[in-house]
């Protein structure tokens, strides 16, 4: 049993390491060759884990080989558009201003229902709303809505708005996120002083989440209590 436990740990660490060096693509964003790779990796990893007679290297060697192959394919795809199209395919327009391209659907081996489902996922419930729909190589549908169905933007309304700012998490579940402090332009002392001033005796460990953005908007929620919003907080580091 101990052997299986140790083998499982080794294989897990190797697979984790491989996925880390392969990048951070989400499952839905995978190109066909990446999906194939993931499926094979999952299968290969389980064989030496359970079968004691099989050396762990019999699982690790093919995994490492596949990662090398993956990087070679990625590199070739980057250098050659033709090669990229060969292994990943190319985006296909399935809806154009004339309507649904049935031939394209047949080529992609998908049904009209599949297109409707993907459209609904993007918030379009009628074909009338769609100018173009493109089936991407990763299997996702991209939709360009008709001008009258497109969401209104500030630009359309000619509104002047402040630039968007991202709130940075500085405390999460009782721990100061030290890596984020420089991004938020605050120091640990600032956080302690802010809590003392606004929440009294509460300490950092009592904070569930605290974010701050560059406009000085602070979102604070203690582990026991409701959220509090503070505006125009001066971020003296």
């Amino acid at each position: 049993m101990l052997t299986i436990v140790l083998r499982a740990i080794i294989i897990y660490l190797v697979v984790l390491f491989l996925f880390r060096i392969m990048g951070k693509r989400q499952l839905g964003q995978m190109q066909p060759f990446e999906l194939v790779l993931t499926l094979i990796i999952a299968d290969l990893a389980t064989i030496p884990m359970a079968e004691i007679g099989v050396p762990v290297l019999h699982g690790i060697i093919p995994l490492l080989t596949l990662v090398i192959l993956h990087f070679i394919l990625t590199l070739l795809s980057r250098f050659s558009t033709k090669f990229s199209m060969l292994i990943s395919g190319k985006p296909v327009i399935v809806i154009n201003p004339k309507g649904i391209d049935y031939q394209a659907l047949k080529k992609l081996n998908i049904t009209i229902d599949d297109v409707f489902e993907a459209m609904r996922g993007l918030g379009f419930f009628s074909l009338e709303q769609v100018e173009y729909a493109i089936m991407e190589t990763n299997g996702k549908l991209s939709v360009l809505p008709k001008a009258e169905a497109a969401p209104v933007t500030n630009e359309n309304l000619k509104l002047k708005v402040d630039p968007a700012v991202i709130p940075v998490s500085v405390v999460s579940e009782g721990k100061i996120m030290k890596d984020n402090l420089s991004e938020a332009e605050v120091s640990e002392d600032f956080i302690h002083a802010f809590l003392q001033k606004n929440v009294g005796k509460a300490k950092v460990k009592d904070v569930l989440v605290m974010t701050i953005d560059k406009n000085g908007l602070v979102y604070l929620q203690m582990k026991k209590g409701e959220k509090q919003i503070f505006e125009n907080v001066r971020r003296a580091a």
Partner: protein
């Protein structure tokens, strides 16, 4: 591509090449040693009526010792179940020698020799294994 990934890929590549070379070298040398030991035992036992000869006993012990060492190394690279027959056959060989059963001894020796040939088909790099 990050430098980290490039270094890791280079290390993985070197590791893979090293493992392939190591496996081929280990398998070839282990099977060659096995074959050589068998040939020596065969030559020694050729005209013997009594298998309790000192030199033959030493040769059989050497065969067992060499294989035990090589087997433990091969187990890192080859499925253990695929190579365990040799160990079993060598154990039989020793029993037949102790019982002075010449016929079974020779049959066992032939079996070990056969394994030393046939194992080359699934160990190391060759077209049969690939296809």
């Amino acid at each position: 591509m990050k430098i980290f990934s490039r270094v890791m890929l280079a290390l993985i590549f070197v590791f893979l090449v090293a493992m392939c070379v190591l496996e081929d070298w280990l398998a070839t040398s282990a099977l060659q040693t096995l074959q050589d030991d068998c040939t020596r035992i065969e030559a020694l036992s050729l005209d013997l009526e009594n298998l309790s000869d000192m030199q033959l006993s030493l040769a059989v012990d050497t065969l067992e010792y060499n294989w035990t060492n090589n087997e433990s190394n091969l187990c890192y690279l080859v499925n253990h179940k695929s190579i365990q027959e040799v160990g079993m056959e060598i154990a039989k060989l020793k029993v037949y020698q102790a019982e002075n059963d010449v016929k079974e001894f020779r049959a066992s020796l032939e079996a070990v020799k056969f394994y030393s040939h046939s194992y080359r088909h699934f160990m190391g790099a060759n077209l049969h294994n690939v296809i």
